[in-house]
Symmetry: C2
DNA sequence: CTCCTATCGCTACTATTGTTGCGTTAAGCT
DNA sequence: AGCTTAACGCAACAATAGTAGCGATAGGAG
């Protein structure tokens, strides 16, 4: 017989996903335990082990879910403001008391296991693609040189925020976010990001 | 009676530190277990628990050791080449088959626990300070505007490398490193990093 | 050299984490 | 409605992680 995407299995899956997110928000990735998720979701421990195998598996599954949600890319008519908007979106996302810890947990999990790492890789590939139109519009407007690498410009703009958050563990202000966006723009204007 | 910095305790400490580094290189932070370190170091399990308490404690201690080593900052006479050198130093460090996994494990540990996070914060503060003269010399030579924020320029230059390594999990080429350095330079020249 | 005690090693124990085998339930087909 | 079987729950078990109490050892002071 075939797989059964609907019905009980689906309910179990949803309950576990939900419980995973709540556990992540409360205790972070380090505090994500199979038994914790099991008891919170009401799904039995053995079932969680069978279907997800490990905390890594739980994360990879939850990430897949989160990755499907689109990103509200700005379109202000000015690359400077679009970039600032994107970077601020990232900064405020991690600062959010609910979404922040969950997003941080994803990063944390991806640094440890290859499963979550692949999932996060795909997630960011999608994000870079979604943000690319901002750059293409700017090229059309003549704000940056033709041939400017869109994904690279986005990487450049957001990376200082991630660097502070997850590498140096420094606070990130709104001004830091703006400056990162402006710096990326300046580099693009100078033609450094042409392919 | 006072603490005993030398003698047996010191030997135990060194053996554990050494074993911690080897375990990190082999299994990463996720595979760093108290029992593994104990058996490898020849120090008894209970002693490792008593003095270091947890894997986090082991990491914090090892990081303190690693942080004391200075950084071979380049001085080529050109900011462009100095920055490229610094970024390439970072990239090649993580690509190194011995030092890479250990350094990655530090980052990984810091993302999880606040103890290692503080230690890593201090580590990078030191790195930023050590790299600042590169920028100051460049200001003196007139390559970038006076008032350019040295630490921010360094952050900007290295952050895309860390972003690829630990956030998006993309490969990092030498060309990527160069481009990051050049982009940071362009931003500084444009005056975006003045305080 | 001798004594004192901080630190370590050892054994035995508890708690937590992960596994196995089997009976039960319910989704989906006829 | 009745049947088939994939997926779940359950209890008992095995393995690993962490703790406690106590005797042994070796710095360092006198």
């Amino acid at each position: 017989m075939e797989a059964r995407p609907g019905g009980r299995s689906a309910r179990v899956r949803d309950a576990v996903r939900q419980a995973t997110l709540v556990e992540l928000a409360e205790n972070g990735y380090g505090g994500l335990t199979m038994e914790g998720v099991a008891s919170r979701s009401g799904v039995h421990k053995t079932t969680v082990y069978r279907r997800w195998g490990s905390p890594e598996g739980l994360i990879a599954d939850a990430l897949e879910l989160a990755g499907s949600e689109p990103w509200p890319i700005p379109d202000t008519g000015s690359l400077r403001d679009d970039l600032r908007g994107i970077v601020e979106l990232v900064r405020s996302g991690f600062a959010d008391p609910v979404a922040g810890p969950i997003a941080s947990a994803f990063v944390s999990a991806a640094v440890q296991g290859s499963g979550p790492a692949q999932a996060l890789h795909a997630f960011f590939a999608s994000r870079h693609e979604q943000a690319a139109p901002v750059v293409e519009r700017a090229i059309a407007r003549g704000e940056v040189p033709p041939g400017t690498d869109a994904a690279e410009l986005i990487r450049l703009a957001v990376s200082p925020v991630y660097y502070r958050l997850f590498i140096t563990h420094e606070p990130v202000t709104e001004r830091d976010a703006e400056r990162a966006a402006d710096a990326a723009l300046a580099a693009a204007r100078a033609g450094v990001l042409r392919e």
